[in-house]
Symmetry: C3
Subunit: 325 residues, 3 copies
C-alpha cells in the first residue's frame, strides 16, 4: 500500500505538540514519556508509518524497527514502554483516539458541506477534487474534496464519492456511495458522537466495475482497497479497512465486514456474509448465501454457514435428504 496525502481529504486543523494533545486526555493517561515534544502532523498505522505522527497501538506489542522520524505511540499496553521512548499509555484507546482525532482533524461529517463545489453537468464537484477530462460523471452526483478519478472512468447518476481515489476505466453505477464512514466504535459506548473518526480513504484500482446501490466504507486510518479488474454486482456492502485483490467477482447483496483481507481471483456468490478480520486466500470460490466465519485457505471452494468445504456441505445435504437428518 502506498501513502496517500491525508490532508487532501481531511485537513488537519493546526499543528499540535504532543504535550498539548496529552493535556486533552487528562486522567485517561496512566503513563507518559515525551522524549522530544515535536509537532504532530499526521496519524500512522503499522502498515503506513508517517513522519511526525501518532501511532495508536492498543493491546498489541510492537517491537517493529520504525524507520520514520518522530513517532509518538499511544497505547493501552504498558509493555510497549520497552520499545518506544515517546509514548503515552492510556486506559481506553477508543475514547483517546476519538478525543485526539476530533481535536486534530476535520472529518467528512464536519467539513464536506462547507466546501466549495461547482455544479458541473448536474453534479456537485468539489473544487478540491481532480477528475480526468476523459472520465464522465452523470447527474445528481456528489464528488467531495480530495477525490481523484483517473482516465476513462464512468460515474453514473446519484452517486456519492468522498475520501476516495478511483483509477482508470472504473465504472461506478447509479445510487452507489463510496468513501462512507466505517461502522467503528466501542460497542460499550453508543451514540453518534462516539463513532471513531474515519480518516482513511477508499482506493478503487483500474478496470473495476461497481454495481448500483453499493456502499464502500473508507479505511479508518489507511485504505479500503478494491483490486484491479474486480467485478462487483448491485447492493454489495464493503466495510472499512477491507482489502480485495485483483479479479474478484462478487455477486449481488453480499456484505463484507471490516478488516477482511481477500486474495486475488476470488469468486463470491450472492448474499454471502463475512465475519470481520478474516483472511480469504487466492482463487477461493464461495457459494451463494454462505456465511464465512473464519480464514479460508487458497484454492478452496466453500459453502454454507458456517462456510465449510463444499463437498462436505453437499454430503450433509444428501444425508439430510436420506435420513431426514
Amino acid at each position: 500500500m502506498k501513502l496517500f496525502k491525508r490532508s487532501n481529504f481531511f485537513p488537519i486543523k493546526k499543528k499540535y505538540k504532543i504535550s498539548y494533545i496529552n493535556s486533552l486526555l487528562k486522567d485517561r493517561i496512566i503513563y507518559q514519556n515525551i522524549e522530544n515534544n515535536f509537532d504532530l502532523t499526521d496519524i500512522s498505522s503499522l502498515k503506513l508509518l508517517r513522519d511526525n505522527s501518532i501511532l495508536f497501538l492498543g493491546d498489541e506489542l510492537n517491537d517493529k524497527n520504525i524507520k520514520k522520524n518522530n513517532i509518538h505511540v499511544v497505547t493501552t499496553n504498558t509493555n510497549n514502554k520497552k520499545y518506544y521512548k515517546s509514548i503515552t499509555i492510556v486506559d481506553n484507546l477508543s475514547d483517546t483516539y476519538n478525543k485526539i482525532l476530533n481535536e486534530m482533524y476535520f472529518h467528512d461529517d464536519q467539513l464536506g458541506f462547507k466546501d466549495e463545489f461547482n455544479l458541473i453537468n448536474g453534479s456537485y464537484v468539489s473544487i478540491y477534487s481532480k477528475i480526468s477530462g476523459s472520465s464522465e460523471i452523470g447527474k445528481n452526483c456528489f464528488i467531495a474534496r480530495g477525490v481523484e478519478i483517473g482516465n476513462n472512468s464512468i460515474i453514473k447518476n446519484n452517486v456519492v464519492i468522498k475520501n476516495s481515489i478511483i483509477g482508470d476505466n472504473v465504472v461506478v453505477s447509479d445510487n452507489s456511495s463510496i468513501g462512507t464512514t466505517g461502522f467503528g466504535f466501542d460497542f460499550k459506548i453508543r451514540g453518534s458522537q462516539y463513532i471513531n473518526p474515519q480518516i482513511g480513504i477508499v482506493f478503487i484500482d483500474d478496470n473495476v466495475h461497481l454495481g448500483a446501490c453499493c456502499t464502500i466504507d473508507r479505511g479508518k486510518i489507511d485504505y479500503t482497497y478494491i483490486g484491479k479488474n474486480s467485478m462487483i454486482d448491485n447492493m454489495v456492502h464493503i466495510g472499512h479497512n477491507t482489502t480485495i485483490g485483483n479479479n474478484a467477482c462478487i455477486a449481488a447483496q453480499t456484505g463484507i465486514s471490516g478488516s477482511v483481507t481477500i486474495g486475488n481471483n476470488v469468486t463470491i456468490g450472492g448474499k454471502v456474509g463475512f465475519a470481520g478480520h478474516i483472511k480469504i486466500g487466492d482463487n477461493v470460490v464461495i457459494a451463494a448465501r454462505s456465511g464465512v466465519t473464519k480464514d479460508i485457505k487458497e484454492n478452496s471452494t466453500v459453502a454454507g454457514f458456517p462456510a465449510i468445504d463444499i463437498k462436505e456441505w453437499k454430503k450433509n445435504l444428501i444425508r439430510q435428504k436420506r435420513y431426514g437428518y
Copy 2:
C-alpha cells in the same frame, strides 16, 4: 409515545361528517350507529387516541376506557358494539381503511411533489419543514413538508427525508431514505392503488447514527421509532410501525419487518432478518445471519434460523461436524 401533529405531514382535505364517510363505504357496511354526527379531523390508534377521530379496530375487541372526545370506531368485529355507541361495522377493514384515508388525506404520493421547496446548498427543502440552524444538510437531498430536524444533526448527501422528526446529534448517511411508504396492503388484493395509505411518521431520537443506503418506512398511523444512541450500519431496512429502544447496535444488511418491538441495549449482527409483529427484550444479542421468527426474552443471546439459544445452536454445529449429521 407522544402525539405528533399529523396535519404537518398529511394535510386533511376538509372536515368530514361520519355520515359522509359512511356514504362512501356503501355495501361494505354491515351495521352502523352514529350517536353524534361529529366532524372527523384525525385518525386514532389504541396507542395514540385523538379527539374527533376514527379508530380502526379490525377483529380485536376493545373495552378500553377511552378518554378522548368523539371517537368513531370502524371495525369488523360486531362485538365491539358492546363498547362503542359510535360505530361502523364493515366486512373488509383494509378496503374500508383505503377508501376513507384516500378520501380524507393527501399522503406523500399525492402531495409532496406539489409542495414548495427552496433549493438550499444543493438540496430541496420544503418551506414547511423546520431545520435547526446548527444542523447541516449535504447535496442532492430531499427534505419534505413537516420534517423537523433538531440541533447539530448531519444529513449527508442524496438523502430523502419525509414524514419524519429527527432529534439532536443525529447522523443520516448518504443515499438513505427515511419516512418511506410501508409495505402494507391486503395480500389478497394486489396493485399499487391498494397500498394502505401510511399517514404515520418516523421518529429518530437523539444521538442516533444511521448508515448509508438505509430505508426506514414510516408508521401506518403512529410511529416507526429509533431510540436514543442507536447505531445502525449500512443497508439496513426497518419496516413500518417498528420501534427500537435506546442503545441499539444493528450491523449491515439486516432487515426488520413491520410492527417489531425491540427493547433497549440490543445488539444485532449483519444480515439478520425478523418476522413481523414480534417482541425482542432488553439486552438481547442476535448473532449475524440469524432469522428471528418469534419473541426473544430479555438478556438472551440467539443465533441461527429459526433463531435459538446460541449455546444450543453451537452444540448442533458440533454434532453436525462429529456425525456429519
Copy 3:
C-alpha cells in the same frame, strides 16, 4: 413479449454490412458464410426476432423456422450450419458479442451523459423521454433517453430510470435504480471493459408498486419484466432478463438473479435468494430467507436452503429439536 424500438434507447452508430462486422472479428472466426451481405440494423434473440439483425446462438442448436428477413447467425456451434445459410462460427461468443456490440451501439455508459436534459421540477429529464402529463416525478431524479412513463404513475425522489418502459399507475419509491447494467460477462475474463453490453430494457407493467432502494437491471437484448399489480418492497434486486408474472408480492431484501422466470400470483418472503436461469410456477409461495436453487412447480410452498417443500422443512426442524439437531 412485444418488440420495442431499441434505437429509442441505444442508437446504432451507423449501418454495418456483415462483411464489415466480420472483419472486426479476425481470427475469432472458424467459419463464415455470407449469403447476402445485408445492412445490419438490430440484434435478435430467439424470443424477439428482428429484421436485418444478428442472432447470437452460443452452443444451442436452433432449427426454428425463422419468419424474419435477413437474420445472420453468430454461433459457437458448427452444427448450426445445417439451419442457417448466413452464419459466422466463432471460438468465443462473449468476446465476439462484446466486439460487435461495442462497435454497433452506444450503450448507456457511453452515451447517456452526452444527452440533452431538461431540469424539470428538480429532476433531469432527457429530451428524448416520453412522460405522461398525469404522472409525477419527485426531486433529484434522472430520467434517461427513450424512457416512457404512462399515466398516473409516481416516481418519487432520487430515482434513476433509464432504458425502461413504465406503465400506468406505477409507483417507484425513493432512491431506486431501474434499467441498470446487468452483471453479465465471461467469468474467466474480468474487468470493467469486458461487461457484455446490455442493450435491452426494463418493462414495468401497470399498477406495480416498487419500494425504495431497489435495483432492476435491464435485459441483455430483450426485457426484464415486472407483471401487472406486482408489489415489491424495499431493497429488492432483480437481475437482467428476469421476468416476473402478474400479482407478485416480494418482501424486502430479496434478490433475484438473472434470467429467472417467475409465474403469476407468486408470494416471496424477505431475504430470499434465487439461482439464475430457473423457473418458478404460478401461485408458488416462498418463505422468507429461502434460497431457491432449482425450478419450483406451480402451487408449491417452499422454505429453506436449498428450498424444499415447507412441510419437509418443518419436519426437519422438529427432528432437530427432538434429536438435538
